[in-house]
């Protein structure tokens, strides 16, 4: 990595639910920011620069809302930077913020990502017909279900795998006080009885619509060394992009995701990710993306991701827990979801994950993807300096 080390010293997220009518957008953002600053023992006055991310502005109807949020974040006179890389944005934003520190430009950077879906209509905003473009009109579920069917056909995965992932994530979410959905009584049988939304994606296998925000405080090594708080050292970051569609594109396991993971492991000095990484917070908005990403990220051999799920490898008690927080399947404030993954990964190596803590987690992965499975952002954080 670059010449300078960077540590996460503060993590905060909101309580998530379908409608946070008790707060404005600014209030929602501050809830996450204040919690992150409190865990770092800092205030807004300590912050050198702020990096803000969110998904399309049309989800709330505020154009470039970071300009309006300036005063809510006491940012007047400071640098404020806005990232937007589709669904991967929460991850990309954390990476851009980390790089503000790793480059040596700033010492104390605050990053925040949010979505207040209840202020608008995401299903509408994601389905606006575009001239000369392919009309989707089906939201994300309609877009991704054919790709999932393709995965099932290629890998021979049995039909209940998706429901297994969903039950695991919803059960994990009950251990996470910030998760949107707290539904303790799911069984595989009950999950398989939920309505089919976009074949093969059932109701339980899809993410909720959430209002929420997440924030991280990142500092340079010299600052971190003076702080008596838990730290997550950023071991590596990586991003990759590829076009949405072209003939022969592998949409099940996009090349951009594979390359991003390879680059990430190389820079973190990881040669055997399955053995060396203790826990993953991976962007799984539809249950079947867990086995698909297990393969794409190099944890499972091709066509074997579903066997990992069936064997319990990704359970909290398994060899490689996936989404002990409950993941995107339990909480999805779109633009913030990636940053929650990155933040939850940090919390695991900081030992701050409470009931969903994986004992002894030393290295964790945060992952986000966006667009038509074409934008990838990932990081590895560790309890020790890289």
């Amino acid at each position: 990595m670059g010449a300078n080390r960077c540590a996460v010293v503060g993590v905060g997220q909101t309580n998530h639910t379908t409608v946070r009518a008790d707060v404005s957008i600014a209030g929602l953002v501050r809830e996450a920011v204040d919690r992150a600053l409190e865990s770092a023992g800092m205030t807004l006055a300590d912050i050198d620069a702020i990096v803000i991310g969110k998904a399309p502005d049309m989800l709330e109807g505020v154009m470039m809302p970071e300009m309006w949020l300036t005063d809510s974040l006491a940012a007047s006179g400071k640098p404020v930077f806005r990232v937007h890389t589709a669904g991967s944005v929460g991850g990309s934003t954390a990476i851009v913020a980390a790089q503000h520190v790793m480059s040596g430009i700033h010492k104390r950077v605050l990053t925040v990502a949010f979505e207040k879906q209840s202020d608008g209509n995401a299903m509408w905003a994601l389905s606006v017909p575009t001239p000369f473009g392919v009309p989707v009109h089906a939201g994300a579920g309609g877009y991704f279900s054919p790709i999932i069917r393709s995965y099932m056909r290629r890998s021979g995965a049995p039909a209940h795998i998706g429901a297994m992932v969903a039950v695991k994530d919803r059960t994990n979410a009950c251990k996470n006080p910030y998760a949107h959905l707290h539904e303790p009584d799911w069984t595989l049988e009950k999950a398989l009885e939920t309505p089919m939304l976009w074949d093969p994606v059932r109701f339980i296998e899809t993410c909720p619509s959430s209002d929420g925000a997440a924030a991280l405080v990142m500092v340079s090594e010299d600052v971190a060394d003076t702080m008596n708080v838990p730290k997550a050292w950023v071991h590596s970051t990586a991003m990759r992009s590829e076009p949405t569609m072209f003939a022969g594109r592998n949409q099940v396991s996009p090349r951009a995701g594979e390359l991003c993971a390879e680059d990430l492991y190389r820079k973190a000095g990881i040669t055997n990710p399955l053995e060396e990484i203790d826990v993953c917070e991976v962007y799984v908005p539809f249950s079947w993306f867990e086995p698909m990403w297990l393969e794409n990220l190099g944890f499972a051999p091709k066509d074997h991701g579903w066997r990992f799920v069936e064997d319990g490898v990704t359970e909290m008690t398994g060899k490689l827990p996936f989404n002990p927080s409950g993941g995107v399947l339990s909480t999805n404030p779109i633009g913030a979801s990636g940053m929650i993954r990155f933040g939850e990964a940090a919390m695991q190596v900081m030992g701050l994950a409470g009931e969903h803590q994986i004992d002894g987690a030393k290295k964790a992965m945060g992952h986000a993807y966006g667009g038509g499975s074409q934008f990838f952002a990932m990081w590895i954080v560790g309890s020790e300096k890289n």
Binding site: G2, M67, S76
Partner: protein, 343 residues
């Protein structure tokens, strides 16, 4: 810090009312900047794009732009919902941390796709200001009333614009002639307003050796900084641009003579505010010789174009030390300033 220089610049012919899609708009300019640099796209380590969904009226409008880049095999790429000048900033950060050596940044905007005076209102407080639909021109009018400097500024912008073949409007009226025209939106006459445009701007920046290999005389980015102000117009002294002044001070604009300054002036009164904020001496510094955004304002690209024109003056030896500036938001809310040097 690593030495990083601007090594190539291209901007499209500005139009109003193009029927091209964003991808069709972007491809020629990206190709042109690569050609100007004399490099292949495979030599670009990092790509960064600045655009705004509200220009095209569709969410995720930048996603298709990846198609314009030849992103196969996959590329390292990012996007900011900001003027392309901030895409350049992100690329500069990437190069500083050693993640890239050569970066291509671009901004594109299609102002003709909607009523930008109305659309830009949506940047304001969504609970108390935006529902009143004040319109950008009215908000800028409040700023202009606070700091009115009309006529002569615009005359120069139009005259210099005539020399930049890409601009939308040009002319040779005198200040007196301009000031005799009707006020169209108090206190503005038509020539005080930006000529809204559709266009694309692209720049390649490179580190040390790569920069020297690509360009005969790179425009070295000696310092770059960006700052934001309060949004609420009532909380600011609109006769000054505080954030521009902080950014200019951080990069040391006034530490030495400035040969040219490319200022992102979208309303004519901005020029004097920025000259004051950057502490420029108009007897020693040519101000916005490209004509600037008053003669062609392709939103999300126009700021990056200022960086390109400032760099061009270094490339061709017209300037040894240049200042590039871009801004966004009502009444110069957010500003980015860089010092470029040839030596």
């Amino acid at each position: 810090m690593r030495d990083v220089g601007i090594v190539a610049f291209a901007e499209s012919q500005l139009t109003y009312g193009t029927t091209n899609t964003p991808v069709e708009m972007i491809v020629p300019t990206v190709n042109e900047v690569l050609k100007n640099a004399g490099i292949e796209r495979t030599e670009v380590d990092f790509w960064c794009h600045g655009s705004c969904d509200y220009m095209t009226g569709q969410p995720f409008s930048f996603v298709a732009a990846v198609d314009a880049l030849g992103a196969w095999p996959p590329i390292i790429e990012s996007h900011v919902e900001m003027d392309g000048a901030w895409a350049l900033y992100e690329a500069w950060v990437k190069i500083q941390m050693g993640e890239a050596n050569v970066a291509l940044v671009f901004g594109n905007g299609k102002s003709s796709a909607g009523d930008m005076n109305r659309a830009l209102t949506l940047q304001q407080d969504p609970y108390t200001v935006a529902p009143l639909w004040p319109g950008l021109t009215a908000m800028e009018g409040i700023g202009a009333c606070a700091a009115l400097q009309a006529g002569t500024v615009t005359e120069r912008a139009r005259r210099d614009g005539a020399k930049n073949g890409n601009v939308l409007v040009s002319g040779s009226e005198s200040a007196d002639e301009l000031l005799s025209r009707a006020v169209t939106s108090a206190p503005f006459r038509d020539h005080d307003l930006p000529a809204m445009a559709d266009g694309v701007s692209a720049i390649i920046i490179a580190a040390g050796h790569a920069a020297k290999r690509i360009a005969k005389r790179p425009a070295w980015i000696r310092a770059i900084d960006h700052r934001i102000d309060h949004q609420n117009l009532g909380w600011r002294d609109l006769a000054r641009s505080t954030s521009a002044a902080i950014a200019a001070s951080e990069v040391g604009v006034h530490n030495d003579k400035v040969d040219i300054a490319e200022l992102h002036t979208t309303f004519s009164h901005h020029e004097q505010l920025l000259i004051n904020a950057l502490q420029l001496r108009t007897d020693a510094t040519r101000i916005t010789p490209s004509g600037g955004a008053l003669v062609g304002n392709a939103l999300m690209a126009a700021g990056l174009s200022r960086f390109g024109h400032a760099a061009r003056a270094i490339f061709d030896g017209t300037a040894d030390r240049a200042v590039a500036h871009a801004q966004q938001g009502a009444c110069l809310q957010q500003n980015i300033v860089a010092v470029l040097e040839g030596n």
